[in-house]
Amino acid sequence: MNIIEISNLSFGYSRADVLRGLSFEVEAGCFLAIAGPNGAGKSTLLNLLAGLLKPKSGSITIDKAPIESYSTKAFAGKVAVVRGEFVPIFEFSVSQTVLMARTIHFGPTGFETRADRQIADEALLSTDTAQFASRPLAQLSAGERQRVFIARALAQSTDILLLDEPTSFLDLKHQVGIYDLLKTAQRQKGKTIIVVTHDINLAAQYCDKALLLGADGNYQYGDTTDIFSTHKIEKLFAVKGFHGQVGREKFFLPLGKFAKDNLSNHNQTR
């Protein structure tokens, strides 16, 4: 069953169209990666899916209902969003932050119910953040904080999770940790997960489907293994590189002008 359907979607800021005639469907329980060069409209597409931007033309439906037919509150019960950056303003603790995902379910007293606390507790446990639940957000490392925001999104109890470059400031271990966490949420809770990412190697490892957006407005959508082919990546990102396979995992390593191995004309395949 398709949980998200996008048909003939176009969007542009003041000057030119960023997205043109985009159509694809996302099955419920799918893990989708959106990749592409800077300015191709990845984050724009995410913001359209999050309901923050209105399409210029075309339509987005979620659970067979047009996205604009949802109220803010109803939409928050369908889609949760994790954004990349975070600027701390006040010293909210981890558990306070995660509980805020339940705000729309608070009763007239303005306080959470026992069920809300239980949901938040589960989210903390499943993201391995319960250990520092009472610490303020500003005192966490970037990786820990990213897990807290994923916990908050999980506590929203939605079918769909949208993430904007969830691993961009993280070290290797934490990058893998975040993807493990998302994969677990997909497998155990049947979440539909959409990540915007620059890390095509991790996306190839974890995601079922991939959407490659080109800077020229063209796009490719399909199974990750088909979409992340060397030819397509080199062409789309306009960069040459190593590609290869270790075990069953494929990888692509970009090579710059000053790379020690000068392999611009022949690719190594093993």
């Binding site: 923050l52 803010t72 303003i89 558990s95 306070q96 729309i104 608070f106 507790d121 639940a133």
Partner: protein, 344 residues
């Protein structure tokens, strides 16, 4: 999940803070240039025809002034909390979006035009201050909206520019005014408590308490909103509605406070900070506790203003600024180091 706010816990904290407030009101009502004794105040044995001076001082001089300080302090502190959350800026205060200069402009216009009437027992100065404050906030909000929906920076910049423009107008009008008029304007700008009659106090109390309750009602939404409009929207908060409600209510109770007592600085800035440092940032307790501690702070400051240079009186704004200025600088350094937002 430990250390989370529960309704029971909140009720307890509010009750204790209220008890403290009552105690402070009681003690401060006995302090003053004339020493009065409670026993004499409630002494009913003397004949009806005779005026009981202790009773007169207590009920018609001390009490109204303490109630006024309580109301103004609570209003400014609550509104400070809300502006800090809405603008996502811990250094915001109730006057940041032009309320002060708008009210000031209203006052100097009222003074120069020499109007002489009353509206519900209020002088033209108070009425013009109120109108000027609300008009300016509406203008800033309107300009802020033009710069983009839910754009905090646009709102802040609009506030700064309108403030600067109106300050220039105040300067201009001051320079053409007579010295007696200038004096009464400056006295008002420094923040000044007077003995109001009870009907004015009840009206003010009604507005401010209703406003504070309404703000408490949207406190959970303010919590989420302090993470930014985009995040709050994704969590199902109707941003436009909450922002408008919070903004309008905070501006209204500030305007009421300003029209009652002039521009009293720092209460709306340092009280929310101090309460946040001690009790944490959850607005469900920050709003009621800031209100109560704001009231306590201003009652104490006004008592000092009454007695420090007795029999003369200081404007209470001078006391709050002298106490609040250094405290604010300490907070500024502390916050900037801890959060590092100033360097970003």
């Amino acid at each position: 999940m430990k250390n989370l706010l529960t309704p029971k816990n909140l009720f307890l904290k509010i009750s204790l803070a209220l008890a403290m407030l009552v105690a402070v009101m009681f003690v401060c009502s006995l302090i003053g240039t004339e020493s009065i004794s409670l026993k004499a105040v409630f002494d009913r044995t003397s004949s009806q025809a005779q005026i009981n001076p202790d009773y007169e001082i207590f009920v018609h001089v001390r009490l109204p002034r303490i109630i006024l300080a309580c109301l103004v302090g609570a209003a400014l502190a609550c509104s400070g909390v809300v502006f800090q959350a809405l603008l996502r800026n811990p250094l915001a205060d109730p006057y940041i979006l032009g309320i002060s200069s708008g009210a000031g402009l209203g006052v100097i216009i009222a003074v120069i035009s020499g109007l002489n009437w009353t509206l519900w027992g209020r002088s033209p100065i108070a009425v013009f201050a109120f109108a000027g404050a609300l008009g300016t906030v509406w203008l800033v909000w309107f300009i802020g909206r033009l710069t983009g929906r839910s754009s905090v920076t646009g709102l802040l910049l609009a506030g700064v520019v309108v403030n600067a423009f109106f300050s220039a107008l105040i300067m201009f009008l001051t320079s053409i005014a007579k010295s007696q008029q200038v004096h009464s304007t400056i006295f008002w700008l420094m923040g000044n408590m007077t003995e109001e009659n009870f009907s004015v106090l009840w009206l003010g109390a009604g507005c401010i308490l209703t406003g504070a309750l309404a703000l408490f009602y949207i406190a959970p939404q303010l919590n989420v909103l302090s993470f930014g409009a985009e995040d709050a929207g994704s969590m199902g908060i109707n941003i436009g509605k909450v922002q408008l409600a919070a903004f309008a209510i905070a501006a209204l109770i500030t305007a009421v406070a300003v029209s009652l007592s002039g521009l009293i600085g720092f209460v709306g800035l340092i009280v929310p900070h101090a309460v946040r440092l001690i009790f944490g940032p959850d607005h469900r307790q920050l709003i009621p506790l800031s209100g109560i501690f704001g009231a306590i702070f201003l009652i104490v400051a006004d008592t000092l203003a009454r007695v420090v240079v007795a029999p003369a009186q200081l404007p209470v704004g001078v006391v709050t600024a002298i106490v609040g200025g250094p405290f604010f600088l300490i907070l500024l350094v502390k916050y900037s180091r801890k959060i590092g937002w100033a360097g970003k």
